[in-house]
C-alpha cells in the first residue's frame, strides 16, 4: 500500500532511541486511510453545515472551508462512521470502500 508513515522509510540507524517520538504534531504523517472499510459519502443536498461531523470526527478528517463542510480527508479517515451516526440530517452514508476501487 502507498499509505506508510515517513519514519518507517528510514533505516534503523536513523530512528530515535527507545521508540521515542521526539517531535510533536507528526500524526499527520501517519496516513491511516488504508484502514477504511466504509467511506463516508456526503449528500450536500441534505447538509446544513451544522459542523456536528467536524466536531465529532476523532481524526480531524472533516475538511471545512469558509465555515462550510467541503469534504473528507481520505488519507486519514479510518471510516469509523461516527460522522454518519451523529449527523442530525442523515446527510452522511457509509458506503463500502471496494465500490470506489472499481
Amino acid at each position: 500500500m502507498a499509505n506508510r508513515i515517513k519514519i518507517s522509510e528510514q533505516d534503523w540507524k536513523k530512528l530515535p532511541i527507545r521508540t521515542l517520538v521526539i517531535e510533536a504534531g507528526n500524526s499527520i504523517e501517519y496516513e491511516t486511510g488504508s484502514w477504511r472499510v466504509f467511506r463516508p459519502v456526503i449528500n450536500f443536498k441534505k447538509c446544513t453545515h451544522c459542523m456536528f461531523c467536524w466536531l465529532f470526527c476523532p481524526d480531524s478528517s472533516v475538511i471545512v472551508k469558509d465555515s462550510k463542510l467541503v469534504g473528507v480527508d481520505l488519507k486519514h479517515c479510518k471510516g469509523c462512521g461516527i460522522c454518519a451516526s451523529e449527523c442530525p440530517r442523515q446527510a452522511i452514508t457509509m458506503e463500502e470502500e471496494s465500490k470506489f476501487w472499481q
Binding site: R4, S8, Q10, W12, L15, P16, I17, T19, L20
Partner: protein, 399 residues
C-alpha cells in the same frame, strides 16, 4: 595511568547487605521494590537507610514485582537513576516488564538473588530465574563472592548508563550461598563510589517540559523490527564497556574484573566452565587436582549477557575436555543454556573440544570441592580415552 588505589574499610557483610551498602553509596533517585526471600535483606536494609535519612532516594513500596519494575520503568523514563532487587518468583512476575525496560533502553540496575523456581516449593539457590530471562535484553553479571556482589552493583550503574549501552543490568548473586553468609567485604569510601559512578545525565527524560517526547508508542509491522534492531547493537557494544569499566574499577580498587575470569587455565588440559558462587569450590578442586599432577583449570563467566563468545572460545582452545556446570532446571533442550552458548562459540570457530554438561546444586544443594574433583576425574578420563560418553549428566543427585 594517573589512577590510584583507594583503600576501603573491611566489614563483615552478608551478600544482601553488601548490595544494600552499595545502593546506599550510589544513592539512586528511585528504588521501587517488593521483598522476597532471599532478596528481602536488600530491600529491608535499604529501606532502613531511607528511613534514617542516609539516602535521598524516593523509595516506593509496591504491591508486587510487576508493579516494582513498572514503577522503575516509569521513574527511569522520567530521568531518575533507578534501582531495584528481586529473585526467583519475583523475577518471574516481572517478566512482561523486562522487555519493556530493555526496549525503552532504560539503565535500571537490578540485583537478582538467584532462587529456584517452584514446584516443589523452594527458596534456595538455582539459577532458573536469571537463566530464564537471559534473552530479555538485560546485561547479566554473576558474582562469585559477596565482595564481587558489592563491586558489580557499583560497576553496573556505569555499564547501564554508558551511552553505547543504555540497557538494564541484572547483578546476580547466589541465593543464601552469597546473600545470607558473612564474608569480609572491602567497602569503598562513599565519595569514591560517587566519583566513580558520576552524575547521571538521562537521555530524553520524560519530565522535560521544554522538550516533551512521546514514550511507549506502538510500532507494528512497519517499524517494530527497526526499533528492535538497535538492541543487538547495544548488546554487542556492551561487552567492551563491561571490560573497560571492570579495568577502570580495578585501577581504583585493585580488584580487576573482566567478562570472564580464568583460573589456572593457561596450561590446563581439562577445564570447568561455571558461573556464580560455586566457582569458589571449583578453585579448591583445581588445586586438589593439580596436587595430583592433573592439569585442571577453570573458566568463570562473570558476564553471561552479552555472552563473551570470543573470550570463551580462545580460552578453551586446545583443551582436551571441558565440562560446563550449570545450576539450572531447564527442560526440553538437549543440554542446558550455558552449554548451548559455549558449544556454539567453539563450533563457530572450528574448535573441537570434548564437551560435557553437568547439572548441579539445584534448590540449594551444596556442591563440594570433592564432587567437583569427580568431574575433573571424568574429564581426565575423557581426555585420555577421547570418548565423551553421555553428554548430559547430573552431579550430586542420588541415583
Amino acid at each position: 595511568m594517573g589512577s590510584f588505589r583507594v583503600k576501603g574499610k573491611v566489614k563483615a557483610l552478608e551478600g544482601d547487605n553488601a548490595v544494600a551498602e552499595a545502593m546506599r553509596q550510589i544513592n539512586p533517585d528511585v528504588v521501587a521494590a517488593y521483598p522476597i526471600t532471599p532478596q528481602t535483606e536488600i530491600v529491608m536494609t535499604f529501606s532502613e537507610f531511607v528511613a534514617d535519612g542516609l539516602v535521598d532516594t524516593e523509595f516506593i513500596a509496591v504491591e508486587s514485582e510487576h508493579a516494582a519494575l513498572s514503577a522503575c520503568i516509569g521513574a527511569a523514563a522520567a530521568g531518575a537513576r533507578t534501582m531495584t532487587a528481586t529473585c526467583g518468583p519475583g523475577l518471574a512476575l516481572m517478566w512482561e516488564m523486562l522487555w519493556i525496560a530493555s526496549g525503552w533502553r532504560l539503565p535500571i540496575v537490578m540485583a537478582v538473588v538467584n532462587r529456584a523456581f517452584s514446584s516443589p516449593l523452594n527458596i534456595l539457590c538455582s539459577h532458573d530465574d536469571s537463566m530464564g530471562s537471559r534473552d530479555a535484553g538485560w546485561i547479566q553479571l554473576y558474582a562469585e563472592t559477596q565482595q564481587e556482589a558489592y563491586d558489580n552493583t557499583i560497576q553496573a550503574v556505569r555499564i547501564a548508563e554508558h551511552p553505547d549501552v543504555l540497557l538494564p543490568v541484572m547483578t546476580c548473586l547466589d541465593g543464601f550461598v552469597l546473600s545470607h553468609t558473612l564474608e569480609p567485604v572491602e567497602v569503598l569510601p562513599d565519595e569514591e563510589v560517587r566519583k566513580f559512578i558520576g552524575v547521571y545525565i538521562p537521555v530524553y527524560p520524560l519530565i522535560n517540559i521544554e522538550h516533551p517526547v512521546t514514550y511507549g508508542a506502538c510500532a507494528f509491522s512497519d517499524y517494530y523490527f527497526e526499533h528492535k534492531r538497535p538492541l543487538w547493537e547495544a548488546m554487542g557494544k556492551a561487552a567492551k564497556v563491561v571490560a573497560d569499566i571492570g579495568r577502570e574499577y580495578g585501577n581504583l580498587t585493585g580488584r580487576y574484573y573482566g567478562l570472564v575470569d580464568a583460573y589456572r587455565l593457561d596450561d590446563a588440559e581439562i577445564a570447568i566452565v561455571i558461573l556464580g558462587a560455586t566457582a569458589g569450590a571449583t578453585r579448591v578442586a583445581v588445586e586438589k587436582m593439580r596436587q595430583h599432577g592433573i592439569k585442571a583449570g577453570m573458566l568463570r563467566l562473570r558476564c553471561f549477557r552479552p555472552f563473551p563468545a570470543e573470550e570463551v572460545a580462545e580460552m578453551l582452545r586446545g583443551k582436551k575436555a571441558v565440562a560446563v556446570l550449570e545450576r539450572v532446571a531447564f527442560f526440553g533442550a538437549e543440554v542446558a543454556p550455558v552449554f548451548l552458548d559455549v558449544a556454539t562459540a567453539l563450533y563457530l570457530r572450528g574448535i573441537h573440544t570434548q564437551l560435557v554438561n553437568y547439572i548441579y546444586g539445584l534448590g540449594g544443594r551444596d556442591t563440594t570441592p570433592e564432587q567437583i574433583c569427580t568431574v575433573f576425574q571424568d574429564l581426565a578420563d575423557i581426555a585420555r580415552t577421547g570418548k565423551a560418553g553421555p553428554i548430559f549428566r547430573y552431579l550430586g543427585l542420588r541415583d
